[in-house]
C-alpha cells in the first residue's frame, strides 16, 4: 500500500482501498482520475469518452470491460442515442445535471435494464459483472446499463448424471441461465431466488433458491446467516461454501447433495430443500439432505414405480455390498470358515494355495489397486481411458492371479465390490463408502465378524450424531418415521405420495389435496 502511494504523486493520494468507498464526484474529470488509478493494469477495461448531444454538449464517459458486454448493444442502444439524440425538448439548456441524467435514463437510452448508482464500489462491481456504466459530467450519480453478454457453454446434457428417461438439460456456468431454467419449471412467485455476493476478490454472485412456505423459514434464515458470515477471498464452486455452512464440518460424511440437473434440483426444492448456486459453477448445492437420500436416483421418478422400487432395493443391496463385501469375505475365510459350505471351502482352499499374503493384506492390496485404477482412469484423456482399464482389469488382474500374488476369488470379490460401488447414484455416497470400506476391512482383519459389527456400531453412532442443517442424517430411519420411509427404500406411486418428507418448521406438507400450496 505504502509503495503504491509513493509511486502516485498525482492529485489524488488516497489509498485505493479508501478510494473505492468514496461516492462519485459531480466532476467527471475527478471520477475519471480515480477510476484510472483503480483500474490501472486492467487492460481489458474500456473507457470511452464522448460528448452528450445536448445544448451545450456535455462530456460523458462510458465504462465497461471488454468481452463481458455485448458491444453491438453498447454501440446501438447506448452510444448512438447519446451521440445523436436531439431529444432536448424546449428548454434543454436549463436542465440541471440531475434532470439531465433522468432524461437520459428515461427518454434516451433504449436498453431494458438501466438504474442509477452513486458510489465507486458499486460501479466497479457492475462493470466487472459485464454492465456498462455511463457517467455524465456534473452528475453525482451514474447510470448502469445491463449489457451483460459473454461467451459461455451452451446448455448440455450433464455428463455425470446420466438418465435414460426424463429431462436432459443441464445447468451451466452462468447463473442467470440457471435461474431461467429453474424459473421455467416452477412458475409460482413463491419460488424465491435470493442473491448475495460472497468473496472479497471474486465478488461472486451466489443465489439461494427455495420455495416459500415449503422450505422451512428458520432453515432458510439459518443458511443465510451462515453464508453471510463467510469471509473468503473467492468462491469458485459451491464446495467452497459447504465447508463453512455444514453442521459438522470435520467429517467425511458429506451432508449435502450436488446436482447438475435442473429437474432434480426442482424436485428437491419441492420437498422444501434449499439450493445454493454459485456463478461460474454448474453444480447446485442442495441442503439439507439425509444419507438415505443418496440412494435415490432422479430417474426413479420417471419410470414405473414398481420397477423403481425394485431398483432402489437393488441399489440398497449394492450399497451394502460395496461397503461390506471385502470385509465379510476376509472375516469368513480367516475367522469363520464354518459358514462356508464345505465344497466351496475346498475350492477356496485350493485357490489360496501359495498366495504369500494373509487374506486381509491381499484384500487391502487389491482394493487399493482397484482404487488406483479408478483414480487414474478418471484423469486420463478419453482416448487412453479404455486402454488403461483393460490393462488394469484384464492384464494386471489375470497376471496377478497367475503369478500367485492374489487368489481368484479375491479378484472376483473386489470386482463385484467395484461394480456395486458404481451403482450408487450419488458420487458423494460413493466416496463415503469407498473410505468406510477400508475401515471395515481393517476391523474385520483384527476381530473378524465381531470387528465388522463393532465398526458398524461406530458408524451408526457417528452417522446418527450428524445432521444436515438440522435434519438428522439418518432420517427417516433414525429418528424412525414409517410414513416417510415409504419413499426411501421403495418409491411410492405419485397418487399415494400425498405428503412431502417432513422437515422441521415446514409450513405446508401436502403435495396433493385442497391444502396444496406453493
Amino acid at each position: 500500500m505504502r509503495f503504491i502511494k509513493s509511486k502516485k504523486p498525482e492529485k489524488i493520494d488516497i489509498p485505493p482501498g479508501e478510494l473505492v468507498e468514496q461516492a462519485l464526484s459531480p466532476v467527471l474529470q475527478d471520477n475519471r482520475e480515480k477510476l484510472r488509478i483503480l483500474l490501472a493494469g486492467c487492460s481489458d477495461v474500456v473507457m470511452r469518452d464522448f460528448m452528450l448531444a445536448s445544448h451545450p454538449p456535455t462530456p460523458g464517459l462510458l465504462l465497461y470491460f471488454d468481452g463481458l458486454v455485448d458491444k453491438e448493444q453498447v454501440a446501438l442502444h447506448l452510444l448512438q442515442p447519446l451521440l445523436t439524440e436531439q431529444n432536448t425538448g424546449d428548454s434543454s439548456e436549463n436542465l440541471s445535471p440531475d434532470e439531465m441524467l433522468k432524461r437520459v435514463q428515461y427518454r434516451i437510452l433504449s436498453i431494458s435494464e438501466v438504474k442509477t448508482l452513486s458510489n465507486i464500489e458499486e460501479l466497479l462491481h457492475h462493470i466487472s459483472s459485464g454492465d456498462t456504466v455511463l457517467l455524465i459530467d456534473g452528475c453525482s450519480s451514474g447510470l448502469v446499463a445491463g449489457t451483460r453478454s459473454w461467451q459461455s457453454r451452451a446448455i448440455q446434457t450433464p455428463e455425470n448424471e446420466i438418465t435414460i428417461y426424463g429431462p436432459k438439460e443441464g445447468l451451466s456456468e452462468t447463473l442467470r441461465f440457471n435461474t431461467a431454467l429453474l424459473r421455467r419449471r416452477i412458475k409460482s412467485t413463491n419460488f424465491k431466488i435470493e442473491n448475495m455476493v460472497i468473496g472479497k476478490l471474486s465478488k461472486t454472485d451466489v443465489a439461494l433458491f427455495y420455495i416459500e412456505h415449503i422450505a422451512p423459514r428458520p432453515m432458510v434464515e439459518e443458511l443465510k446467516k451462515r453464508l453471510e458470515a463467510i469471509d473468503i477471498d473467492a468462491v469458485l464452486d459451491p464446495r467452497y461454501l459447504v465447508e463453512f455452512v455444514a453442521d459438522e464440518k470435520r467429517s467425511i460424511f458429506t451432508q449435502e447433495q450436488y446436482t447438475e440437473k435442473p429437474d432434480r434440483l426442482c424436485g428437491y426444492l419441492l420437498e422444501g430443500r434449499i439450493a445454493v448456486m454459485v456463478d461460474g459453477s454448474p453444480m447446485a448445492l442442495i441442503v439439507p439432505v439425509s444419507f438415505l437420500e443418496y440412494l435415490i436416483s432422479p430417474e426413479d421418478y420417471y419410470i414405473n414405480y414398481i420397477a423403481a422400487s425394485l431398483f432402489r432395493l437393488l441399489r440398497l443391496g449394492a450399497f451394502a455390498i460395496a461397503l461390506l463385501l471385502p470385509s465379510l469375505y476376509v472375516a469368513v475365510i480367516t475367522y469363520h470358515h464354518e459358514m462356508v459350505p464345505t465344497p466351496l471351502l475346498l475350492t477356496l482352499a485350493a485357490t489360496r494355495q501359495g498366495v504369500p499374503f494373509p487374506a486381509f493384506v491381499e484384500a487391502l492390496l487389491l482394493d487399493l489397486t482397484f482404487e488406483l485404477l479408478r483414480e487414474a482412469g478418471l484423469r486420463l484423456p478419453r482416448a487412453v481411458g479404455p486402454a488403461v482399464s483393460i490393462v488394469g482389469a484384464l492384464i494386471i488382474g489375470d497376471a496377478a492371479v497367475r503369478a500367485g500374488l492374489v487368489s481368484t476369488p479375491m479378484v472376483v470379490i473386489i470386482a463385484a465390490t467395484g461394480i456395486a460401488s458404481f451403482a450408487s447414484p450419488s458420487y458423494n455416497a460413493g466416496i463415503i463408502i469407498r473410505i468406510a470400506r477400508f475401515a471395515f476391512l481393517i476391523a474385520s482383519g483384527l476381530l473378524g465378524f465381531l470387528g465388522i459389527m463393532i465398526a458398524l456400531i461406530l458408524l451408526f453412532v457417528r452417522m446418527a450424531s450428524l445432521s444436515s442443517l438440522g435434519l438428522p442424517y439418518l432420517a427417516p430411519l433414525a429418528p424412525f418415521n414409517w410414513q416417510q420411509l415409504g419413499d426411501i427404500f421403495i418409491r411410492r406411486p405419485w397418487f399415494e405420495n400425498r405428503k412431502r418428507p417432513y422437515l422441521e418448521g415446514m409450513e405446508n406438507q401436502w403435495r396433493q389435496g385442497k391444502s396444496t400450496g406453493g
Binding site: Y335, H336, E338, M339, P341, L447, G448, F449, L450, I452, M453, I454, L456, I457, L458, F460, V461, R462, A464, S465, P472, L474, L477, A478, P479, F480
Partner: protein, 374 residues
C-alpha cells in the same frame, strides 16, 4: 431441549431388557420349569403390566425426572443417598452385561483373545455414543432395534419350524407352584430394568402414551422370551439345555437353513452385539445422567470417560471363571435388580400413593439445570 419420540423410547427400553435376558432367561426358566418354561414366559405379562402401572403412577405423581423425583418424594438426604445407590446400580448393571457378553464371546468364538480387548472395544463404542448425547443414543437404539429385532424373531421362528417337535412341550402344566413362581420371578425381574423410564418419560412429547409404550415393550419381551424358550425346548429338550452353558446359543448353532445357509451363529452374535451395545450403554448413560442431576453438574458427557474405567474394572473383577459368573447371574444379579429396580420403586410407589398430584397437569420439563443443550 431435545425430545425423544415414543418409538425411540420403545427401542431404548427394549434394548435394556431384551438382549441379556435373551441369553440367560430361557436357560434359567428351563432349569426351573423344564418343558413348561414357556408358560412362565407368557405369565410374565402380568407382573410386567403391574410393574408398568407402578412406574406410570410414579411418573404421574412426580414433577421432576428420575433422580430428582427421589429428592422430591423422600427428602433431600435420603433422596441423594438413594440416587447415589442408583448410580452404583446402573454401573453394576452395565458392567455385568458387558462381562456376561464378553465371556460369552470368548467361550464361543474367539477363545484366545483376552477379554480386556473386547471390554475395551465395547467401552470405546459406548463412550463415543454417550459423548454424543442422549438424542444420538436414542437414534442408535432405533437402528439397532430395527436391525436386530426382526432378525432375532426370524432366527427363532426358523429354529422352531425346523425342529418342530411339540412333544417336547408335554406334559402340559405339570409343575409345582414354587418352581412356577420362581420361573415367573426370574423372567420378570428383568423388566425392572425399565426403571430409566422414570427419567426418559419426561423427555417424551406426550406422557399419556407412555403406558402404551411400556405395554409394547413388555409384550415384545414376552414374545421374544416365548420364541426363544420354545425354540430351545424344541431343539434341545430339557436334558440337553440343562448341560449347555448357553442353550439359546446352542439352539442357533444347530440351525441349518436351505442346505447352504449353515452355522450362522456368528452372524447372530454379530447382530446380538448391537443389542448388547444398547444394554451396556443405556445403564451407563443413566449412571452418568443420574450423577449429573444429583450433583447438579453442567453436563453428563464428560462423565463418560471416568465411568468407562469404573465399568471396565468392575466387569473384569466380576468373576474369576464361568462358574462364578453364572452364579452371579443366577443369584446375585436377580436379587440386586429386584431390590433396586423393583422393591425400591415399589416403596416409592407406596409413598406417592399418599401424595397429591403435582400442580400442573402437563409435566414440567426436566429441571433447568438438567440439560445444557442438546
Amino acid at each position: 431441549m431435545f425430545r425423544i419420540s415414543h418409538f425411540q423410547l420403545y427401542c431404548i427400553l427394549l434394548l435394556l431388557v431384551g438382549p441379556v435376558a435373551f441369553l440367560e432367561t430361557p436357560n434359567i426358566l428351563i432349569i426351573h420349569l423344564g418343558c413348561n418354561a414357556w408358560l412362565a414366559a407368557i405369565g410374565t405379562i402380568v407382573p410386567g403390566i403391574l410393574l408398568a402401572a407402578m412406574f406410570q403412577y410414579i411418573i404421574k405423581k412426580s414433577s421432576q425426572p428420575f433422580p430428582l423425583l427421589l429428592e422430591e418424594h423422600l427428602g433431600k438426604i435420603l433422596g441423594k443417598f438413594l440416587g447415589f445407590l442408583y448410580i452404583l446400580a446402573f454401573l453394576l448393571a452395565s458392567s455385568f452385561t458387558l462381562r456376561l457378553f464378553v465371556d460369552f464371546i470368548v467361550t464361543n468364538v474367539l477363545p484366545q483373545t483376552p477379554i480386556s480387548v473386547f471390554i475395551g472395544v465395547l467401552l470405546l463404542v459406548g463412550f463415543v455414543a454417550i459423548k454424543s448425547g442422549l438424542e444420538n443414543l436414542a437414534r442408535c437404539c432405533e437402528l439397532v432395534t430395527l436391525l436386530g429385532l426382526p432378525f432375532a424373531f426370524l432366527i427363532f421362528l426358523a429354529a422352531i419350524i425346523e425342529n418342530w417337535n411339540p412333544g417336547n412341550l408335554l406334559p402340559f402344566a405339570y409343575m409345582d407352584l414354587t418352581s412356577f413362581s420362581l420361573g415367573l420371578l426370574s423372567c420378570s425381574y428383568v423388566l425392572g430394568k425399565m426403571l430409566p423410564i422414570l427419567s426418559l418419560a419426561f423427555f417424551c412429547p406426550r406422557q399419556e402414551k407412555i403406558r402404551q409404550v411400556m405395554f409394547l415393550v413388555i409384550s415384545t419381551y414376552v414374545a421374544l422370551m416365548l420364541a426363544t424358550t420354545l425354540a430351545t425346548l424344541m431343539t434341545l429338550d430339557i436334558s440337553m439345555s440343562n448341560i449347555a452353558t448357553f442353550p439359546t446359543f446352542s439352539t442357533i448353532r444347530l440351525l441349518h437353513i436351505a442346505d447352504f445357509i449353515q452355522n450362522i451363529d456368528i452372524v447372530f452374535i454379530g447382530i446380538w452385539i448391537m443389542g448388547v451395545f444398547g444394554s451396556v450403554t443405556i445403564p451407563w448413560f443413566m449412571a452418568c445422567y443420574t450423577a449429573q442431576q444429583l450433583f447438579a453438574l453442567k453436563d453428563y458427557r464428560f462423565l463418560a470417560a471416568p465411568s468407562s474405567l469404573i465399568i471396565g474394572v468392575f466387569s473384569i473383577l466380576m468373576g474369576k471363571n464361568i462358574l462364578e459368573l453364572l452364579a452371579v447371574s443366577m443369584h446375585i444379579i436377580p436379587l440386586l435388580y429386584s431390590f433396586v429396580f423393583i422393591l425400591l420403586p415399589f416403596l416409592l410407589f407406596l409413598l406417592t400413593l399418599f401424595k397429591p398430584y403435582p400442580e400442573s397437569a402437563t409435566l414440567a420439563e426436566p429441571g433447568s439445570k438438567a440439560e445444557s443443550s442438546a
